[in-house]
């Protein structure tokens, strides 16, 4: 024999407290003990054995003055049947008896009326006799509803629609299952399992006094709105949050594969080598490749910079929606992102880019505004530069008409970051031979002067200085302000009187020399400072000869950025913790990817390890975000509830986040039960749409207490009978229902149409 003790010292505030042990709930007791065979389940105590055991226990307990109830299991363990006994002082004894039917429940017991009669029968009375005030019966009820599957609604609509459209073809209805995340930004890439399977609604009726069985029938038809208390708890798809095997497929899983590809890329010298020895089975078929390329190059929208997350800018990757960012996102899902598949996709990608170049077709998804985004990765810069070169090469020079000063091209030279470096190198290389930067300055200056001369045929050097570099012109007027009258200035005197600044006087001679040497030539007719053909070919050369690790490194930055940029477009309302987590992840990515810049990898194993850990962090945020999206979608109109449940989930999930290892055991079970406020009830009801005719056929409804046509998952009721006549007669150790009344009978019933559990507590005086 083994003894189990279970205590619950919490004040018994309600019959329906969640923390109740099931025996406490069933029998309405506080402390109790269970005496069960040590060999655990499987061993059956038959009724005589159980009674014998219980009476010996009862004697033992009374000998030591214990007033704790004791229970022994009886019958087959699946019946969860118990006998129990409690000595209550010297006079009273409470006996307990519970059993369960796990098959079709007799119709009478499916209904409240029948259950009420069952309770009354325990007094040895019939309902008809039950008209005196001798016993008062009280009734409590707890109904638990579960929301119908969320996609069921749309499914049904599709069906009905089809039926009405083509009445003759009822049997060829196509089953179109709507996927819950269809409208979310990640659904372009993968479909996530809904982490939120549904909600459990618990409606609680607190104590009612029941006069007759008819009243029970009414209760069965009562609206759920009459329940005093509503509670909502989410039902999770645990596969998603507890995923030690790593079954989750999302950006994070693909990023992990990309990190693997990076590791492999260090071994390979040239992209082409990956194709010749490539394992063809790991590369998708040509038709898949074709589809991906068409998607990439077809009418690509120009990336919308507004979506660019502020903090995301610190990740050195291509902006979301740009050609290279799209390439990276596609690569994540192409042939499961293995290095061979990446190589095939890249080579075809570059071939398409070259085609655009040769044919002077604009590069899709590449916005430049005439500038190179030096904060992005080099490949993106190169593509921007190429787009500029294609533009410049394609533009036919217009014949110069009305020229003006605005015609002068004063833009700084357009360069990618490696061109800036190259230029620095050049300055060093030519250090002694001549001043390279001075040469470049001269070129730009001369170009400006030529254009200025062309636009203003009569201009002199001083005019140019006043326009080009106003700071270098000192107006004499300023100094003679006191003597010069306003009116003179208003009339204006041309040319303005003044002189070159001291600085300009120093440079004056060389500038004047350039001025004298520059021919009058409009900007549009000048030899461009940037040779688009040369720069364009250089870029293609770069793309065509890029080393595998250089490619994958840049893909890592851009893929992390683009994945998070995509996810962060999800609308999840005003969930502050979510926003914070996303911002944190941006920062974490940005710092973790720093070692990739400059392509010097000191410790490869360490780098790969760090990146794998980064993927784990990413995965947690990704899952949290999907949860946020789901709860927000379902409770969009109950913001407070939505935030409260998310907060519960966040606190449950938080300890798991940030840890890479999946084998740490978290035994904490997710619990969230939110009290629904009166004004939120309508929103909750909308989670229970009326089943369509089609759906209701599938179910046999038998219990009553319907909520929009849905039966409760469980209906729990408690009957209490108080004997008012026994008031104060029997001393102090009397269990009291309410002051002055003795609860003599208590029956707990929990059931559906094919599972009924009944537990009875009867107090008697022997």
């Amino acid at each position: 024999m083994e003894y189990y003790f279970q205590t619950n010292c919490a004040a018994k505030s309600s019959e329906w407290t969640d923390e109740l042990h099931e025996l406490q709930l069933m029998f309405g007791v506080k402390e109790f003990m269970v005496i069960a065979p040590a060999t655990a389940s499987g061993v059956v105590l038959d009724v005589p054995e159980a009674s014998k055991l219980l009476s010996s226990v009862a004697i033992a307990l009374s000998n030591c003055g214990s007033i704790w109830p004791a229970f022994v299991p009886v019958h087959d363990p699946t019946r969860e049947a118990f006998f129990g006994i409690q000595n209550m002082g010297t006079i009273f004894t409470r006996r307990f008896d519970a059993d369960r039917i796990r098959s079709q429940v007799p119709i009478k017991l499916m209904h409240l009326e029948g259950l009420h009669q069952l309770f009354l029968s325990k007094f040895g009375l019939y309902a008809t006799d039950f008209s005196t005030n001798f016993l008062k019966v009280k009734f409590l009820m707890r109904l638990t509803y579960i929301t119908p599957p969320f996609d069921g609604e749309d499914d049904a609509q599709v069906r009905e629609h089809e039926v009405s459209q083509s009445p003759g073809k009822k049997d060829i209805q196509t089953y179109i299952k709507t996927i819950w995340d269809d409208d979310y930004p990640w659904s372009n890439w993968y479909s996530a399992e809904d982490p939120l399977k549904g909600f459990e609604l618990t409606a609680i009726w607190s104590e009612h006094t029941v006069d007759d069985s008819l009243e029970m029938e009414e209760l069965e038809n009562a609206s759920v709105f009459e329940a005093e208390k509503w509670l909502l708890s989410p039902v999770l798809e645990l596969n998603m949050t507890d995923d030690p095997m790593g079954h989750f497929i999302g950006f994070s899983s693909q990023l992990r594969l990309l990190v693997k590809a990076l590791d492999a890329s260090f071994e390979v010298k040239f992209i082409e080598d990956l194709i010749t020895d490539g394992n063809p089975a790991s590369v998708p078929s040509p038709s898949v490749l074709d589809r991906v390329l068409k998607g990439l190059f077809h009418d690509g929208q120009i990336p919308d910079r507004q979506h660019d997350h502020g903090i995301g800018g610190t990740i050195k990757g291509a902006p979301l929606g740009s050609l290279f960012a799209q390439f990276c996102l596609n690569a994540l899902w192409f042939g499961n992102c293995n290095i061979h598949a990446i190589a095939v996709l890249w080579i075809e990608f570059v071939r398409e880019v070259r085609w655009c170049w040769e044919e002077s077709q604009p590069l899709p998804r590449t916005m430049t505004n005439g500038r190179i985004d030096l904060s992005s990765c080099l490949i993106h810069q190169k593509l921007q530069m190429l787009a500029i070169c294609i533009g410049k090469k394609g533009v036919k020079r217009d014949v110069n008409g009305n020229s003006s000063v605005s015609d002068v091209d004063k833009d700084p030279p357009i360069m990618t970051e490696d061109m800036h470096e190259e230029r620095l190198q050049a300055v060093e290389a030519f250090g002694d031979e001549f001043s390279f930067s001075a040469l470049l300055e001269r070129e730009i200056l001369s170009s400006d002067m030529s254009a200025f001369k062309a636009a203003n045929p009569d201009a002199v050097f001083e005019d140019f200085i006043r326009w080009h570099s106003p700071g270098d012109w000192e107006s004499v007027e300023n100094e003679e302000r006191s003597s010069a009258s306003e009116s003179v200035r208003m009339k204006g005197d041309w040319p303005p009187r003044g002189r070159l600044s001291a600085r300009m006087s120093d440079h004056g001679n060389s500038w004047r020399k350039i001025w004298d040497e520059s021919p009058s030539l409009p900007a549009s007719e000048q030899k461009p400072l940037l040779d688009p053909i040369r720069e364009g070919e250089k870029i293609l050369h770069y793309l065509e000869t890029l080393r595998p690790c250089m490619l994958v490194e840049q893909m890592i930055s851009s893929a992390f950025k683009a994945s998070l940029d995509t996810l962060s477009q999800t609308s999840y309302g005003d969930l502050k913790q979510m926003k914070l987590k996303i911002e944190q992840l941006y920062k974490t990515i940005s710092t973790s990817l720093k070692p990739l810049r400059g392509n010097i990898v000191a410790d490869r194993a360490e780098l790969i390890g760090d990146l794998v850990r980064l993927c784990a962090v990413f995965e947690h945020v990704e899952k949290l975000l999907i949860f946020a999206a789901s709860i927000r979608h379902k409770l969009a109109d109950a913001t407070r509830l939505c935030e409260a449940i998310f907060s519960d989930f966040y606190n449950y999930y938080l300890p798991k986040m940030g840890t890479g290892s999946s084998n740490i055991c978290y035994d904490k079970v997710f619990k969230s039960k939110q009290l629904i406020k009166a004004h939120e009830r309508e929103v909750i009801i909308s989670l229970f749409p009326h089943p369509t005719a089609n759906q209701s056929w599938r179910k046999v409804l038998s219990m009553g207490n319907l909520l929009n046509g849905h039966e409760p998952l469980t209906r729990e009721i408690i009957f209490l009978a108080h004997d008012g006549a026994t008031d104060d007669q029997y001393g102090r150790n009397v269990p009291r229902g309410s002051p002055g009344e003795v609860c003599t009978h208590r029956m707990y019933v929990c059931g559906t149409s094919n599972d009924l559990q009944v537990a009875l507590s009867v107090t008697s005086w022997d």
Binding site: D290, E352, W355, E358, E537, T545
Partner: protein, 210 residues
């Protein structure tokens, strides 16, 4: 060899050629002379320059992408990447400066071995500035011997007078056209676009991966 000025995208092959050699031997002048028939005093090349010329050789329309590199040591790392994917390399020396010739075997031939990714790549030795015959210090015979030793084509020319300039490129291109592996590379980079080609046949053997 005829130059063509029509739409540059219409070509059968794209070949990448590379000019190497010491600073001042006349690489840029040679390129300018070939591509625009002019000769002018040029400022030193910075890093890498590029010119393209469409020519017709043996009935085939070719796009020649010619990379002109800076000779300085400083730019070596930068220019080394341009050996990759080149079908032809032109080694230039100045017939009036012996050091530019000896540097070919000391430096430049080694560079090719180090950086060239293509074993079949055609090499060509070019002695420039033959218009300055009076100042010549490297004989033609020495050039021929070098070419034989390293297995390259050989010509002497002048970027200034345009003597043999066209021939340099033509010889090289003809040799490339004679080499099947280079020809294959040259056609791979040409026109292809997913929107104007026939849909590929679904590959039954690879059908499992999608």
């Amino acid at each position: 060899m005829n130059s063509s000025s029509s739409n540059q995208s219409e070509f059968d092959y794209l070949f990448k050629l590379l000019l190497i050699g010491d600073s001042g031997v006349g690489k840029s002048s040679l390129l300018l002379s070939f591509t625009s028939n002019t000769f002018e005093d040029l400022s030193p090349t910075i890093g890498v320059d590029f010119k393209v010329k469409i020519v017709t050789v043996g009935g085939k329309k070719l796009k020649l992408a010619i990379w002109d590199t800076a000779g300085q040591e400083r730019f070596r790392t930068l220019t080394s990447s341009y050996y990759r994917g080149a079908q032809g390399v032109i080694m230039v020396y100045d017939v009036t400066r012996r050091d530019t010739f000896t540097n070919l075997s000391d430096i430049w031939a080694k560079e090719i071995d180090l950086y060239s990714t293509n074993q079949d790549c055609i090499k060509m030795l070019v002695g420039n500035k033959v218009d300055k015959e009076s100042e010549r210090v490297v004989t033609k015979k020495e050039g021929i011997e070098f070419a034989r030793k390293y297995g390259c084509l050989f010509l002497e020319c002048s970027a200034k007078t345009r003597v043999n300039v066209e021939q340099c490129f033509e010889e090289l291109v003809l040799k490339i056209l004679d080499t099947p592996s280079l020809l294959a590379e040259g056609s791979a980079g040409t026109k292809k676009n997913i929107f104007n080609q026939k849909p590929p046949q679904a590959d039954a053997s690879a059908g499992s991966c999608c």
